[in-house]
């Protein structure tokens, strides 16, 4: 067993004690959103009870304290990511999705010209697809896709051809459907060799493994607090300082300006240029607590532990269902995270999830906002089980029991 104590984590998370249909919840939907430790909830309570005020421009004490909490979260994120330029590279957004829209509308609309290519992969989440399609419509860029092989991994055999005219490679660090981990550092080298930048969708990868921006050598990173034990309503965009400095504002409003007159406006410098309006302040208090909690566990430990759980589940699924349950994703744990998409023969994912719910098991049926990937594998949907640091091998036990029931019922 790894260095941290998953049972202790379980105890720290109130929702793991919820009873559903007479059974204690078996939460296997962490890829959609993680459960929240008490310390995170309490950090937000403390914020609202003692420190709440609007940030910036305040002279009085709570306004100062709120600002310190907000900017302190920025520092905490920079440390968590080992951001080369520190906290001035951290922009707070609403979620991963806003972060990608910001990249597309600010950097993309400024630096991409008709004919330029943005290279995605077939396993992207819609958050890293739709903003580029929108930009294609206004900017005349081309959107191209790195294929996913039958082994559920990126097919990089023709990567140099694919790179023609590419100005940005934008890839997910880990697929939220397949569990596949992309070779980000290798892709960063390819991108830079071709004079392109690289953006990474870290919604899954930042939440489930350790991130070292200095080592990764990427240019943009986007992720969400709610997938990493933090609150809903908060996302992060990281970008290299020099890139961020060259980007015009995205949304306009208070806090992002240097000056406004009846004739026009001058945007502010630094991350605040991208943070128009009152930000999700309380959420940054919760997120700081979540990051501290994760750092206490150690992200490398979390990754190793989830890999163990995944390996065990993959083995047992293969053994118990002898082919009636197909894994849509790599069958081994090599370069793969704790997301297990199931295709159960003769049982629609919706029905799988419904039967599992009867056992208190939470899995998500659907296209997981990755319809191009679904179409690539000729599926309308999968039933997806995914782990978090509070997951236990008993969760897999219940999953298998419930799956057995589903197979029998529709058999």
């Amino acid at each position: 067993m790894t260095a941290f104590d998953p049972r202790g984590v379980r105890t720290d998370v109130p929702l793991t004690r919820r009873v559903i249909n007479g059974r204690t919840i078996t939460y296997l939907d962490s890829a959609a959103s993680s459960l929240t430790p008490r310390t995170v909830i309490e950090a937000m309570d403390r914020y609202y009870e003692n420190y709440h005020a609007n940030v910036h421009r305040g002279v009085y004490q709570t306004a100062n304290e709120a600002t310190t909490i907000y900017e302190g979260a920025r520092d905490a994120v920079a440390r968590f990511l080992n951001a080369p330029g520190g906290s001035s590279e951290i922009v707070f957004t609403k979620n991963t999705t806003e972060s990608f829209n910001l990249i597309a509308r600010s950097w993309g609309a400024t630096f991409l010209n008709p004919g330029d290519v943005v290279l995605l992969t077939e396993m992207e989440h819609h958050a890293n697809i739709v903003p580029w399609f929108q930009l294609r419509d206004t900017q005349g860029i081309e959107v191209r896709f790195i294929p996913v092989g039958d082994d559920f991994r990126l097919d990089l055999s023709e990567i140099d051809e694919l790179m023609r005219d590419v100005k940005l490679v934008s890839v997910t660090g880990m697929s939220n459907v397949l569990g596949t981990i992309a070779p980000v550092r290798q892709l960063a080298d390819v991108a830079h060799r071709h004079g392109a930048l690289i953006a990474v969708d870290g919604a899954q990868s930042v939440a489930h493994s350790s991130t070292d921006l200095v080592g990764l050598d990427i240019d943009f990173l986007a992720f969400s607090a709610h997938k990493m034990l933090g609150p809903t309503g908060l996302g992060v965009l990281w970008a290299r300082e020099a890139i961020l400095d060259a980007m015009p504002p995205f949304m306009g409003g208070g806090g992002m300006i240097l000056d406004v007159s009846l004739d026009g406006f001058t945007p502010a410098k630094g991350p605040s240029r991208f943070e128009a309006g009152t930000p999700p302040i309380a959420q940054t208090a919760g997120f700081s607590a979540a990051l501290k909690y994760l750092e206490g566990l150690g992200m490398a430990n979390v990754a190793a532990y989830e890999k163990e759980l995944t390996g065990d589940a993959l083995t047992r699924l293969a053994l118990e269902f002898e082919g009636r349950v197909r894994i849509i994703g790599p069958g081994d744990t090599l370069e793969r995270g704790g997301v297990i998409s199931l295709d159960v023969e003769g049982v629609h994912p919706h029905d799988v999830a419904q039967v599992l719910d009867q056992f208190g098991v939470c899995v998500r049926p659907g296209h997981h906002c990755a319809k191009p990937l679904m179409k690539r594998f000729g599926l309308a949907a999968t039933a997806r089980a995914s782990f978090g640091p509070y997951s236990l091998v008993e969760d897999t036990d219940v999953l298998l029991e419930a799956l057995g029931h589903a197979v029998k019922m529709f058999g």
Binding site: H348, H350, D351, Q354, G366, M374, A380, A381, M409, F410
Partner: protein, 161 residues
């Protein structure tokens, strides 16, 4: 807490495993696609109307047991009926689907009980109401059929426009 057997009645599983009226119809049959964006269920309804009667109906598509059995049950219930009867059945079914969970267990004489009586085999879907997310699955085929009926050209309609 409603049990799974209330949702997955044997008759539903039967229609899911052996759907009735699968297939396509050539023009002039009307063809309409229905789509549930949340779960990806898809249904295509082919409806043939002659002299005010839904003389034939066929369905293709894929989806969960509820959407597929509902479409199969629907096809069996409406095939060969007059358009007026079909519209009546649609209305009754959709009324059932909007019933509140509690009303489902009301006794004889209630409007739900009346729906159930009128619907025959279709009433097997009544339990869906206790699983609100699945109502969209159950009604997909019906909404698609409604759209198909609306698209049928008013030919041979002697009652005026």
């Amino acid at each position: 807490m409603p049990g799974l057997d209330e949702l997955y009645r044997e008759i539903i599983l039967d229609h899911y495993r052996s759907p009735r009226n699968r297939g396509e119809l050539p023009p002039p049959a009307v063809r309409v696609e229905g789509f549930n964006p949340l779960c990806g269920d898809e249904i295509t309804v082919y409806a043939q109307v002659e002299n005010g009667v839904l003389s034939d109906i066929k369905l293709t598509g894929h989806g969960c047991s509820i959407s597929q059995s509902s479409s199969s049950l629907m096809s069996a219930a409406v095939k060969g009926r007059s358009l007026e009867e079909v519209r009546g059945t649609i209305a009754t079914f959709k009324h059932l689907m909007t019933a509140h969970e509690e009303r489902l267990d009301e006794g004889p004489g209630s409007s739900v009980e009346a729906d159930v009586r009128r619907l025959g085999e279709l009433a097997a879907l009544a339990g869906v109401v206790k699983f609100p997310v699945r109502i969209k699955c159950a009604t997909l085929a019906w909404n698609t059929l409604t759209q198909a009926l609306d698209e049928i050209p008013v030919v041979g309609d002697t009652s005026g426009v």
